[in-house]
């Protein structure tokens, strides 16, 4: 058995203080598997330790909000006994390492967040930021990312209807790939992750578990030898066909009454899904890891718990209903395994070859997750530019320059690589202010958009945060929709730097103010911190994804001029 050395602790990203907390909770030293579990549960990604304090200040309720932040995705009432389920999530780092697969698996992950809730995904959007267009890597990154988003979404058969793209040299070493999915679910069939029912079976479905994405840092620990790099790819490869099967199988099963709780295995796979389900239900869980479908030989409990293999889900079923579920998953050609059951011990117990390999208290671990009030400094006000100092440019020069600028140039090259019409309900294609997808079988529509202008946020985080929300709101109203709610994706640099933390705090404040003023609550979101290369942070990028409803598609508005001779009116200041 591996001895836990300070080196191994550091490689798992735990500070000395955090490790002391581990010792206090367990009353003993953890083994490697347990340490791995703590490290992912307390990672920034899972615990929101730097951001939680500020996320709590966002407005999250309105009469039409059915589920705010805290579940796999937000849920809002859109009338006619239907709900819209949506969320945005980042896959920044993986997309920089391997643009095609990084972006593709990002789309896969956000789709799972949405159909886990019982919704059929009806649209994808993506908010992208790249470095300078003439930077040697940009071309490769953009073509890989776009092909990856298309490759995944096109195969799964969900139209990619919108998004945004910006360029700035400060993204040269750290691009942003934020993917959003919108789904529609019947109001009386929403599924949640809260486990219940002691003794109920815990079921694994989807693809087999391989050694994908097991954290680079953990590779160095004693169990692994020098040639392990080859065996432990940190980049996951997506399998959109399996995802399509998973969507269909899950939705088919959701039409029956056998699912108690369901959760996708995203980052930190089996660990966070089982922990979250048990923790929300105030229960314990016992898993027999030998039963997990495995793709490779010789996998260890540590690897099984930390693997980020894609296209997998965890469910709690009604007792005795395993055969119903199994038949559906087999019909769709997917793996299905009962890997454990719920207990009343409040502990997570993992066994392997008949031996207990981990035994952790769930609530203390979740409650003791670190939460930081990081020091922050407000962004110093940007110098005011005197209009007189701005050189005058004749419009005949300004207009072509603007039209040719990478930030304004047509995005047709991108969206033509996305199937934006599949499902037969795209009534407003990409290229307008907001995309509009008809609610199938009705004359109503959902409008959606993603927006953020990072240079405004960098100049003034509060104002920039407000502006992003206002822009999303305007884009929805411009399509004739009633804006209902937003999801956000907070992309920032290193929160341990007070100025960066100040950007985050300011943007949250701006977001909160605008959302409150517009009655446009935040129902889901994601935080991506530490977006830096060589000490230089990306421009602060709080991406907003807005959703609204159009009650009568005859009243939908589009951007094109309709006929010669019609009046052109400018409104606003």
């Amino acid at each position: 058995m591996t001895t836990i050395t300070p080196n191994i602790i550091a490689e798992h990203g735990l500070t000395a203080e955090e490790y002391q907390r581990v010792l206090d909770i367990l009353g003993r030293a953890p083994n490697l598997t347990e340490l791995g579990i703590f490290s992912v549960m307390w990672s920034e990604h899972c615990s929101y330790k730097s951001s939680k304090k500020w996320l709590k200040t966002l407005p999250t309720s309105a009469p039409w909000v059915i589920q705010g932040p805290g579940e796999n995705a937000g849920v809002i009432d859109i009338g006619d006994d239907l709900t819209a389920v949506f969320k945005m999530e980042s896959h920044n780092h993986p997309s920089f390492i391997e643009p095609y697969q990084g972006a593709a698996t990002g789309v896969g992950g956000i789709l799972r967040d949405v159909f886990t809730m019982g919704a059929r995904p009806v649209a994808n959007l993506n908010a992208l930021r790249f470095g300078a267009p003439d930077h040697p890597k940009t071309r490769h990154l953009i073509s890989g990312v776009v092909a990856g988003i298309g490759g995944y979404g096109n195969c799964v058969g969900v139209p990619t209807v919108g998004g945004e793209v910006n360029f700035h040299p400060d993204y040269n070493g750290n691009i942003l790939v934020n993917a959003m999915t919108v789904g529609i679910a019947p109001a009386d069939r929403i599924f949640y992750s809260k486990a219940s029912g002691v003794g109920n079976p815990v079921v694994y479905v989807g693809s087999k578990t391989g050694r994908d994405g097991i954290h680079g840092a953990t590779m160095a620990s004693a169990e692994f030898n020098a040639d392990s790099e080859e065996k432990r790819p940190t980049v996951q490869v997506g399998d959109p066909f399996t995802e399509k099967l998973l969507i269909e199988a899950c939705l088919e099963l959701m039409a029956t009454d056998v699912i108690v709780a369901i959760q996708d295995m995203g980052a930190a796979g089996l660990t966070s899904s089982s922990f979250e389900m048990a923790s929300k239900g105030g229960l314990g869980v016992e898993l027999t890891l030998d039963r997990v479908p495995m793709r490779e030989e010789g996998m260890t409990p540590y690897e099984l718990m930390l693997s980020e293999s894609q296209e997998r889900m965890l469910m709690v079923l009604e007792p005795g209903k395993e055969p119903v579920a199994e038949a559906i998953f087999r019909k769709w050609g997917l793996d299905f395994a009962v890997i454990g059951h719920l207990t009343d011990t409040g502990r997570m117990v993992l066994t392997w070859n008949g031996e207990t390999v981990a035994d952790l208290p769930i609530d203390p671990l979740a409650e003791a997750a670190p939460e930081y009030d990081r020091p922050w400094e407000p962004t110093p006000p940007a110098p005011v530019v005197d209009a007189a100092d701005v050189p005058e440019v004749p419009w005949t020069e300004a207009l072509p320059a603007l039209m040719g600028s990478p930030d304004l140039a047509s995005r047709r090259w991108i969206w033509e690589q996305y199937d934006h019409m599949v499902m037969g309900d795209t009534v407003q294609r990409p290229g307008g202010d907001a995309a509009v997808v008809r609610i199938h079988g009705s004359e109503r529509g959902l409008a959606m958009t993603t927006d953020c202008t990072p240079r405004y946020v960098r100049a003034d985080p509060v104002m920039g945060g407000r502006q992003a929300v206002a822009e999303a709101w305007r884009n929805l109203t411009a399509a004739g929709a009633r804006p209902l709610a937003v999801t956000d994706n907070m992309n920032f640099g290193n929160p341990e730097k007070p100025l960066i933390m100040g950007q985050f705090v300011g943007a949250c404040q701006g977001l909160a103010e605008a959302c409150r003023a517009l009655d446009f609550p935040v129902v889901s979101g994601n935080v991506s911190l530490y977006n830096e290369t060589e000490g230089r942070a990306i421009p602060p990028t709080p991406t907003i994804g807005g959703v609204g409803v159009i009650d009568d598609l005859d009243r939908m508005a589009t951007v094109t001029f309709k006929a010669p001779g019609e009046a052109i009116v400018v409104i606003g200041e």
């Binding site: 390492i97 980049v235 399998d239 793709r295």
Partner: protein
Amino acid sequence: MKARVHVTLKPGVLDPQGKAIANALHSLGFDGVKEARQGKVIDLDLDDTDAEAARARVDDMCRQLLANTVIETYRIEVDP
């Protein structure tokens, strides 16, 4: 001079193609296929006349374009 580059996924990387091929072969009744993996071969027709120089250049091409070394490995054959 001809060069051939074999590009294969690193062991451990999920190979959806290979998986699909194995499944399809099974459903066609070809049992006994334990595993299938799919790779690429790129055949290049080069101006070079020196095998060693050619190999070095092709190695460059692989690292820059032909293989995605994050998930793939490659092997070069030069045919003098």
